[in-house]
Symmetry: C2
Subunit: 246 residues, 2 copies
């Protein structure tokens, strides 16, 4: 069923949802006809199954059939923190991590980050990634749109991630714990943070800071993932291990 | 360390490997200097760590330091069979499934496959995907280059996949078994086949044929993966579950 994220005054009131602007446009692009069903999600984990009851030039309406909790939300709230990669790899990460169940996506700068946009350009990029996450959330049936933001340094990223129950730092070399051991040791975790590196990897001192901050330094096995694949692989493994791919 | 796949007469004989043509070119592009180390892999799971001992215009040589089994090969041989998607999604699948540990990648046509290249164009595409898999195998430290081929129908794909110990068919709706239950029931599997669908998904009759052929019809949870993400997500989950991401 087509899926819309709506909030504020447009959402269901008195059993009727109102579509204007880009939401109305979306109805038209998808060629939804009178009487057809769609899902409106409030972006906070609640779904409203509706039937299109009015379709005008400047407005559309849908009647509420059933209200329920969104099925698409994992039981674990995961923040994915990625060192900003080059080019469209960051787009890829926003899309794929949304599909896989990320709650929040944070791009940060680390020692070997090549891409260093200025503040204005970064703000535009965050907007773009948020839009990509929004589209992916609709397509994949999420109950929320993952929040996307940036952090200026690894320290700031650690500061965000350190609040999670399960704190994972993916590192390609040195002293590490197998990912399954790290995840297995926190079976009842309600929240997780996954940190992955840039094209050139992390410096040893960066892994050391993460370890001191309470992160588990993890290995994802003998194969080396590209920087845009690593967050998705780690997130998928976590979702699988916590019963969120069943 | 830079990684080369070589076979036939160029590989180590009498403790020396010889580089010509594209392999020599690769040495020059990577600017490997005399005395520097590199790994030559025979593509069958064996690595040769070498030192560059000669660098000429038309030939280079490397001396053998150590021979060993490639560390990058999973303990389970997985064939990923994907219904051919549109555009560059097939490229993406070849690259990412190689990183994640696929042994073989098969593209096939199913009821809702949109892309239907003719034989000549398909042969070119298979060549292209093989090249992508080769590049990804080098980058990610694989001990083999996954074989890429095409199959003309779901029946042919099932025929390939049915030989595997663990036979998984990803389906978005209807009667399904959670992925973890399907994987968990075959803990000692030495080989696996994963089948995923095209943009429009599989028809019910296709899932029925797969079930009759001995495949387990699996759910990957409440979130719907895009057709190019599904094979990677399923393969990653399998690698994680079988201890191949540790």
């Amino acid at each position: 069923m087509p899926r819309f994220f709506m909030s504020g005054s447009n959402i269901i009131s008195n059993g009727v949802a109102v579509f204007r602007g880009s939401d109305l446009n979306h109805i038209k692009v998808l060629r939804i006809k009178l009487g057809e069903r769609l899902i409106i999600c409030d972006g906070e984990g609640r779904d409203y199954e509706c039937r299109l009851s009015r379709l005008g030039d400047n407005i559309a309406e849908a009647e509420l059939i059933e209200e329920r909790l969104s099925a698409g939300e994992p039981t674990i709230n995961t923040t994915v923190l990625v060192s900003l990669p080059k080019g469209d790899r960051a787009d890829f990460i926003a899309q794929k991590c949304t599909e896989a169940g990320a709650h929040e996506i944070v791009y940060f700068f680390s020692e070997h980050s090549v891409s260093r946009p200025d503040a204005k350009s970064l703000a535009k990029k965050v907007e773009r990634w948020s839009r990509i996450a929004g589209e992916a959330a609709k397509q994949s049936g999420r109950g929320i749109i993952p929040k996307v933001r940036s952090a200026s340094s690894l320290a700031e990223a650690l500061d965000i991630g350190v609040k999670a129950d399960l704190k994972l730092f993916m590192y390609e070399t040195g002293d590490r714990i197998p990912l399954s051991a790290a995840i297995g040791s926190a079976a009842d975790a309600k929240s997780a943070a996954i940190i992955t590196g840039p094209e050139g990897g992390f410096e040893k001192y960066e892994a050391d800071i993460a370890r001191v901050s309470g992160f588990t330094i993890c290995s994802m096995g003998p194969r080396i993932f590209r920087c845009e694949t690593a967050p998705l692989a780690a997130l998928t493994a976590l979702m699988y291990a916590t019963g969120n791919m069943d």
